[in-house]
Structures are given as C-alpha cells and as structure tokens.
Amino acid sequence: MFELRDKTVADEILSQLKAAKVKLRFMHVCGTHQETLVRHGLDTVLKKCGVTVSQGPGCPVCVTTAREIEEAIALARRGYTVASFGDMLQVPGKDASLAQVKAQGSDVRMVYSIEDVVNLAKQHPQKQVVFLAVGFETTAPSTAAVIENGPPENFSILSCHRMIPPALQAILRAGELRIDGFIEPGHVSTIIGLKPYQLISRQYHVPQVVAGFEPLDVLMSVWMLVQQVQQGKAAVENEYARAVNAEGNVKAQRVMRQVFAAGDVAWRGFPVIPKSGMFLKPQYAAFDARKRFADDLSVLAGESFPEPQGCLCGAVLRGVCASQECPLFGCQCTPQTPLGPCMVSREGSCRIEFQYQKK
C-alpha cells in the first residue's frame, strides 16, 4: 500500500518527458528527495530528458549555522548536558564537533526524539539538559508540544528550527539560478498544507508540486511540473495526497504558533532570511537556553565563524554548485573525514553523492 513501484507508469512518464523536449531546471528542498533522486539514478535519467533537479537548502543539519553549533559546544564544555539528533553531533565546529567534545569528557547525548531528552532531564534533576533543536516544520511541532506541556524545570532548548517557505522566497528573490519549478517537501507539507506555497506561486509565478518520496512520486512530480510549464501555469499541485491535505495538520500548526514566534535568522550559505526562524515566545523564556545561559554564551558575542576552508556547502545549499564540483569532494572530504555538514548529514547532498556514486 505504501510502496509505489510500477515500471509501466515510470516508463510512460519518461517517454512523455522525452517527447516534450524541454530544457528546464527544478529545485527540491528536501534531503530525502535528494536521496531518492541519486539512489535510484533518477537525476541522470531526468537529465537525459532535459530536466535538471537541483538540491536547495533542504537539509536541516546542513543549514544550521556554525554559530549555532558553537553555542551547543560552548554549553557542553561549560558542563551542561547537550542532546541532539545523530548527525548534528558530527558537524565540525571551529575546532571540534560535539562528538569530539564528548570524547574529551563533556556530556553529549544522541537522541531519537525530544521525548528522550525530557526523560533524561527527569532522571537527572540535578543536571541542566539542553536540546539542540534542529529541523523544519516537520520536526518543530514535536518541540512545541513538549514546551507547551511544561517540561521539567532543568530542561531547555537551543531553537534552530526553521521554516521552508521563507527560504523558497529568499532563493527566488536572490535570482542566482533560473528555477522553473519547485518540488516541495512532502513531510514539511503534511504539517503546513498547501496555502503557504500558494502565496509564493502568486507572487513569483512559479509552478510547485508537493511530492512524496518513492521514486515514482518524484518522477510524477517532475512530470506535473513540466505539464504546468508547458501550459503556462504556476499553480500548487499535490502529488502526495495520501499524506498531505490542503489545510495541513491544524493541531500541529496551532501548537507551533502558540510556542514559537517567527524571527530573522541566517542559514548556512545564505544571509539572514527574514522571518524564517522559530524562536520561543517570551512566555516560554524559562525554557530558552539562549536566555537561561546568556552569560555562558556571551563569549560568542562579536565572534564570526567562517565556513571550513575550501568547503562549498553554502553554494551547494543554494543549488548553484553540485557536490562533485567541490575540489575537496571524495579526497580530503569523505563521510569519515567530513569538512562540511553536507558530507556529515544523511540528508546532505555530498554524503548522498559519495554514498551512491563516489567520485
């Protein structure tokens, strides 16, 4: 029921795409779409049909800035317990990653869910437990639900949650790439629904299709975008109707709105994107690690955190550079010796490229 494999449909899509004789560039903003594209060789097949699909800033681990990682490292070194999702621990900071800081004796934990962190805080009431909260609208509702529920008093979060629609607008405004359409992230869309995209289509006249993650989902969404381009349309269509409905998850939206306020925040590879960050509202300040540990974090004020030397992650995340174009790809930079987050994260395009193709 959940597997979407049908070779005749795939063949028909590809033959219609070939016959259309187009030359188009689409962008997706989801590491899982990148995985589907590369793992099944769809990127190559689609290129032969005249369609290039670039990866945008769709990896939450990758777009988290060097400053945010240093905040977590500073708190871990200060003696607090810092917890986050697996890949975050491996992202290189200025002189160490969270995993390396752990090896040096700090208390850094890898968790699967924010509820693990709440339990940790309950079990160790004498410890300060900080959750490095990354993720887009798919993940942010779980953080919001925990905060609204009143977590233990020794629990706090470093919110690095970000919203996808403002990033789409930033990319279109910057105009670095001609983008003929967006493949929108299915799981972000289960939460936000279709409305935020509709505003963008109206404003920028860009076709968009919300897509699932099976190979056939991705092929079909490309086909739907091509149809729109050929008909001169710029609508928002939903290929992933089995999981996404127009209004999205209203409960999740409500709790996010209750707990978070939108604020300006930089993304790796991008300047500050207006109203793209999710920050705890003043009434939840007690759970905001940036407020609770303002003194500990003040050492970072005024410092700048340059990208690792030679790393092109920023350009990769803006879709202007492919992973293999980075001179360090596969030589100095591999999943064992990652220089940038795009080689760390399982959603990062360098890691995916390395895993399935190698240089």
Binding site: M1, F2, S113, A145, M220, K251, E347
Partner: protein, 77 residues
C-alpha cells in the same frame, strides 16, 4: 531528517497520548500521537517519535491508478 515512516496504530493510551505503532517489518515503537486525531487500525507517518499525519488509505491505494489516468489524458491530448 524530515524522514517519516508509515506504521499502523495498534493500541492507544489516551491518558499519556502515546500509541504503539507497528511498522509491518516486525518492529513496533511507542509513538506520541498528540499531534493527530487517529484511531486504532489507522496508519500514521512517524517522525522523530511523533505521529505527524494520518495516512489516507484510500488515496494511497488509488495513487497509481490516478497517475495512469493523468498520463493517459496527457498522452491523448
């Protein structure tokens, strides 16, 4: 990271807002279902320990047929 996996809700504990979700591959997990309205027997997408949406079973079963229809219509046009 936005990966979400479908599974079937086996039991729900209304008091804690948690459900037991069976992934159909022999594994099952406790999942927070406070963000969705779901009944036992329905399928949910699970992300980082939380159910984020209920899967529409009918839509899921009709997906391929719908694709075929769309492609045929375009092919004839």
């Amino acid at each position: 990271m936005c990966l979400a996996i479908p599974g079937k809700v086996v039991t729900i504990d209304a008091k804690t807002g948690h459900a037991q979700v069976d992934y159909g591959d022999g594994t099952s997990r406790t999942v927070n279902v406070s963000l969705v309205d779901v009944k036992v027997g329905e399928y949910v997408l699970v992300h980082a320990g939380f159910a984020i949406q209920v899967v529409d079973r009918k839509e899921a079963e009709e997906t391929i047929a719908l694709f075929k229809e769309m492609l045929e219509m375009a092919g004839e046009a």
